[in-house]
């Protein structure tokens, strides 16, 4: 049993990792078939990962309601949202059409499921992120102070790009458009490139460690 619990996952990771690394260098059709099948498998397993994410949220709020923790009423609202969306998405059209799942439109006409999506989910998510517009403004006011050389550089680059990316800035000071493009294409590109190289070295090192079983944190969960 210990082999199954401890060693088997490591063996699987090792074998899968080595095979799919080497696959890249092998153009033979057999290796291509392996790649096709492998990617399809991951695609299907991805579906279950989706379930995993959803059930954990379900669980957390169920506990909250059960124990009547502070704010459990909001958890009820959350459940209400789930149930209504599910009911509308799965059953309303199941009765009417031949499709098994929820479609936002059928033959160009919006369905009830599409209505929920368009008039609740879209504005809610959109607004949640739109709030950041206000916070970025107050962050700029609070913290964009030329306290040091570094801060001054950051602030100058930010102000130039803010001017160079909008018509009014380019209209008042046409040169900001050119400077913005230069900052983005040259200065910014070089920094991002260095970060990309650094991060990729880190990611490759991590992947190698995972394949060789030196890094096992991803296995997480599952008490032994």
């Amino acid at each position: 049993m210990t082999f199954l619990r401890r060693q088997l996952p490591l063996v699987i990771t090792f074998v899968a990792g080595v095979i799919f690394t080497l696959q890249y260098y092998v153009p033979h059709p057999k290796s291509e078939i392996l790649l096709t099948e492998g990617s399809l498998w991951i695609q299907i397993i991805g579906l279950f990962a989706l379930v995993l994410g959803v059930t954990s949220l379900f669980h957390i709020h169920a506990v909250k309601i059960k124990r009547q923790e502070p704010g459990w009423g909001y958890s009820l609202i959350l459940y209400f949202g789930i149930v209504v969306t599910l009911a509308v998405g799965l059953f309303v059209q199941w009765v009417g059409g031949q499709h098994p799942g929820g479609k936002e439109t059928i033959d160009g006409a919006m369905t009830a499921f599409g209505w929920i999506y368009t008039y609740t989910m879209v504005p809610l998510q959109g607004t949640m992120f739109a709030i950041l517009a206000f916070f970025i403004a107050s962050a700029a006011y609070r913290s964009f102070r030329a306290r040091s050389k570094e801060a001054a550089l950051l602030l100058t680059a930010a102000v130039i790009v803010m001017m160079g990316r909008v018509p009014l800035g380019e209209y008042l000071l046409p040169v900001t458009g050119d400077i913005t493009l230069w900052i983005l294409n040259v200065l910014n590109a070089s920094v991002r490139r260095a970060i990309l190289i650094g991060i990729s070295l880190g990611a490759v090192a991590l992947s190698i460690k995972i394949i060789f079983g030196l890094e096992r944190a991803y296995l997480g969960g599952g008490k032994e």
Binding site: Y25, P27, H28, K30, S56, I136, A139, A140, R142, Y218
Partner: protein
């Protein structure tokens, strides 16, 4: 790189040349005077691919110009054993007709170890497509003809067999670098297990101690966030390690610690780490189980709740370690408004600008990993960091040396710099 050359010689050079010597077609003397036939023709299986493809190479010629075109012709060989297939080139199927000043070897870049022919040679790749299916392991006769007006002169017809290949030699530098880097990382980890490896001190860690000191002076709590990631992300692991250090200090000073989580598993791990730190500091008696607690996995509910904690409890120091998304600004802005010292550490590069502007100190990207390796002194972590440094050192060297070589190469019009430069290029 010696291992590379057989592949090239086998399919790329020897075979076509043997074919060329074996057989060629007589041509009418008159046509040849007007329009010399294509010379040095080579036909072979396209190397480094999945098969169903043949490559044709032939020398450039003085006749190449606007008036002349090339025809590529192909015919299947009925009997594979025949060494000299009796095919009339005029009866072969025309695959393509191309202008004579196109399709050069130089149109595509090759590393020196698979370079098929001089750059000025013509190159045409016959691929399987609708209307023309090339079968693997089936011989074909291929030739090229020069055409101008009514005159057509044929090069030698050569037999070749398309086949799938097991190795893409063009990408061997990729594999080589992978192996070298892997060896570097493992070597460093081994070294780290045997002896102390030098890591420079990360200035951010001083800021951490200072912040804890100030919170103690003020008698206010410390807020520590571990980010949005799960235990599989390196940034979360680093955040947990740094939490160990922070909680030890906090225990010594008997300051209050608040650690709200977004991932239940991370919470459990961090609870253990915190408990251990209190034990090590000899303050197990004041350890509180509920200093680590879980809020919710949802981005904005979590953010709103943490913002609420900041506004009510007014912590003297806020730590933001791990990976963050759009919520970063909502957190740090609220934190700043309460006047707390804020220290961040993240590899989420999209959010770095906000941490850098709104926090007093930020561990940028890899600095977070370095800080955690510095603190934990765990050989695997330290060794990996050292291995990555080796990789960076090599890249730095290649960038400096390569730029010099590339410049000299261009000025002198020399090819030899490619011997090094090609090793660090991406080929398909």
């Amino acid at each position: 790189m010696t291992a590379v050359i057989p592949g090239r010689t086998l399919s790329g050079v020897c075979l076509p040349w043997v074919m060329l010597l074996l057989w060629s077609l007589p041509l009418s003397a008159q046509a040849q005077d007007l329009l010399p036939a294509p010379e040095q023709v080579q036909v072979f299986d396209t190397p480094n691919d999945a098969g169903q493809s043949l490559t044709l190479l032939w020398a450039d010629s003085l006749r190449d110009g606007p008036g002349v075109r090339y025809q590529i012709l192909i015919a299947p060989v009925a009997d594979a054993r025949a060494t000299a297939p009796a095919v009339d080139p005029a009866a072969m199927e025309i695959v393509a007709e191309i202008p004579s000043d196109s399709h050069y070897v130089r149109d595509r870049s090759w590393p020196w170890w698979t370079h098929p022919a001089p750059p000025a040679f013509h190159r045409y790749v016959i691929n399987s497509r609708s209307g023309l299916e090339l079968m693997n392991d089936t011989p074909y006769v291929v030739t090229v003809a020069a055409v101008t007006g009514e005159i057509r002169t044929f090069g030698p017809a050569i037999q070749a067999v398309p086949e799938p290949n097991w190795v893409n030699w063009n990408q061997m530098n990729n594999l080589l670098l992978l192996l070298a880097f892997g060896a570097g990382v493992f070597g460093s980890i081994r070294t780290a297990k045997r002896r102390e490896i030098f890591l420079r001190r990360i200035p951010g860690l001083d800021a951490v101690d200072e912040a804890i000191g100030r919170a103690t002076e003020l008698g206010k709590p410390i807020l520590y966030l571990t980010g949005a990631g799960d235990m599989g992300e390196p940034s979360t692991i680093a955040a947990a390690v740094i939490l160990g250090r922070v909680s030890k200090r906090v225990a010594m000073y008997e300051t209050e610690l608040i650690v709200p989580h977004r991932d239940p598993i991370v919470m459990v791990v961090c609870q253990e780490i915190t408990k251990q730190s209190y034990l090590e500091a000899g303050k197990a008696d004041i350890f509180k189980e509920d200093s680590n607690f879980f809020i919710t996995t949802d981005q904005f509910s979590y953010t709103a709740a943490v913002d609420g904690i900041m506004l009510r409890r007014k912590p003297a120091a806020n730590f933001f370690m791990g990976s963050y998304f759009a919520e970063s600004l909502l957190l740090t802005e609220t934190g700043a408004s309460t006047g707390a010292i804020q220290i961040a550490g993240t590899d989420s590069d999209h959010q770095l600008p906000f941490f850098v502007t709104t926090c007093d100190y930020t561990l940028i990207g890899e600095e977070l990993y370095a800080a955690s390796a510095y603190l934990s002194r765990e050989p695997v972590q330290v060794g990996t960091l050292r291995g990555q440094d080796l990789g960076k050192a090599v890249i730095l060297g290649v960038l400096a040396l390569g730029t010099g070589l590339a410049t000299i190469g261009l000025i002198l019009d020399a090819q030899w710099p490619a011997l090094l430069l090609d090793l660090f290029r991406d080929y398909k």
